[in-house]
Amino acid sequence: MPILTNLSSRIKDDAAWYDSYKMNLRKAREIAYRMPLVHVSGNSSRVSFLQLITSPSEEIPTSADVYGYCSDETRAAETMLELPQCVYFYAGRSHPAFGKIALAFDEKCERHHSGSATPFDTGGLASRPEGKIKTALPNHKPETIRRFTKASTKSLQVWREVFVHFLAAYFSRPVEYWEGRPFKADPEELMSRNDDWRAWVFEVRFYGGQKITDAVAWCASRGQREILRREALAHPPVGAVRSPLQRLLEEIHEISPPGTPFYCDELERWVREKVGV
């Protein structure tokens, strides 16, 4: 019984849980419908962020091998879970393992995409030989993991409404999505057996590339920001035409402009301000 299955009836069977859920519901709704999607880019072992933003497509590409953007493990997980090749986001959370620049996209960027979401990091669940995310599932066979993931998957069109109930139900206060951990266990025990927030973060996936300059905010490490600054200054402006990099620097809100080693924390701080937490 995946995390979100029969959630409402499970809550109603537990008076204390129901009270907490009801108390959180309004705030959770406010947060969920305003929650930015966060993508961290610039893993130095693969295609750099500078290459992405100076490429003709100006996109964060999907995990397709041809782009050289995501790892073989990501593609293996997609194959195992029968997911299409995707662009990955976390709802409101930012993890530095993926690179040195964190980008936030608002809800409008979902309109032109098809995609899906799950209340956990699929790569972490599907990793081999053991999942990085521990569960109470009977085994870690591909079929078992695939079935569980499919049952947990929501379409891009409805994920925010599902996220409302997820936030209201599993956290004593919605702020614990960032500061703490779920206070109720789920049937497969992802939330109780793990300490890494990727076991309970909402992962949102687009099935096509996402234009970088649709971001609404970004924050980078000092080094990454310096690389972008130098590149932008190396080229004189050509009339009114701005390159994507110039548009990123000029038009999109930069959090902590000189760059900071705490770029993920800073982006999450901005997200929390935006959603009012």
């Binding site: 893993n43 130095s44 072992s45 693969r46 790892s71 530095p96 393992a97 040195k100 990085k132 960032w178 500061e179 951990r181 300490d195 890494d196 927030w197 490490s221 000092r222 080094g223 990454q224 310096e226 690389i227 600054r229 130098r230 932008a232 200054l233 080229h235 004189p236 402006p237 110039q246 620097l249 000029e250 930069e254 902590s256 402009p257 000189p258 900071t260 080693p261 705490f262 924390d265 800073e266 999450e268 701080r269 901005w270 929390r272 301000e273």
Partner: protein, 396 residues
Amino acid sequence: MSATPYDEFEIVGFEGGIAVECETVLPIARHIKTDLFAKYVAPLIRSGTQSSAGHHIEPIPRLPPNPAAMFTRAEADKIARQEGLTFLPEPVAAFEGAMVIYVTASLLDSVDEWLPPSMDWQILREGIWVACSHKSVVDELMNRWGEVLMNKATDLLERIIYTHDRGLAANVEHLSDLALCVAGSETLRARIYLRSGLAITLSSTPERLDNLYQLIIRREFRDWTWDEYRKRLDRLAEILRLRISLMKEPSRTEGARQTEERSFQDIAQLSSHLDGIEDIAERYAECEAIARRYREQHHITDDDINRVALVIRNSSKLRLDGKILRVLKGEPLFYYLSPDWFRHTHHSASAEDLSPLIDSSTFIQTARNIIDMGLMPGILAERTLGRDSLGGRLRA
């Protein structure tokens, strides 16, 4: 001594890889007992706070209070292969506020300095060193290097103005790039951006100044308008031209007294230009730069210093007011004195220590004496330019 949570950890690496010439990065720690790894995380509750002055305060890195987001050695090795983390050659004992700094040989060559021995440096690989120290120590070192690089850029800009060799502009830009790479202080970065902008205007593609302002400066300094930035650049160019005149050798017909008078006039003229710099920290820094250059170029006799010291010692009726502060804040004549008399006060929150260059008691005393001598704020420079000099008055 009681054990702290840090005793259970050692710092084994840092987040990411080598991206630029020098950078401060978050440490990666290992829990010794369990062999699990974690990055130093900043508790969100301390993240993004604002100081009373409205400046953003970065969180101090510390270990997570619980084992959240810890990963195994195998995972750490894998992340390292993907350049998501870099291992130190030797682990370092963990402590609160730890940060890692890496520096390349190209940066050290540019600052003409070797690695400070106060930090335990390790060779990461050829031409790249790494050390772990408290965030404040690392920030201070990087700001100092930033200032050294900026001063070199300033010297080169003077050469361009003096020799009209515009080919040097690229070197200034390179030095400014390096300075911006390491400098974190807002005031220092503002001053570096002025050098960078001036270098661009002197380069063969001056239209890039638009890029610098539109794409970068407007982000970091939201209250700088284009006009204001242009004025700042003009002012810096003018100051550099005056500095060049200050450095010129005295003519053969000029006696020592005339040389001194001319020097005072030059420095007073510079002072009047500095009045236009509204940012007080920026003005201090420019004053200090002028004074440093002045001391390098002019021999100051012990008699001169003693005469000023006598005036300072014999003064009475000390009283601190806004006028005194204003005289000293923008008046580089005071920096004519030997650095022995003007000690750095570092940073202090007290109103008396607003000057970053001299200790507070000397600051107040000197200011009051100047006022007692009839030299009022803003008038000192004019008088010196016109017919008088501080040196003459002190002798009288």
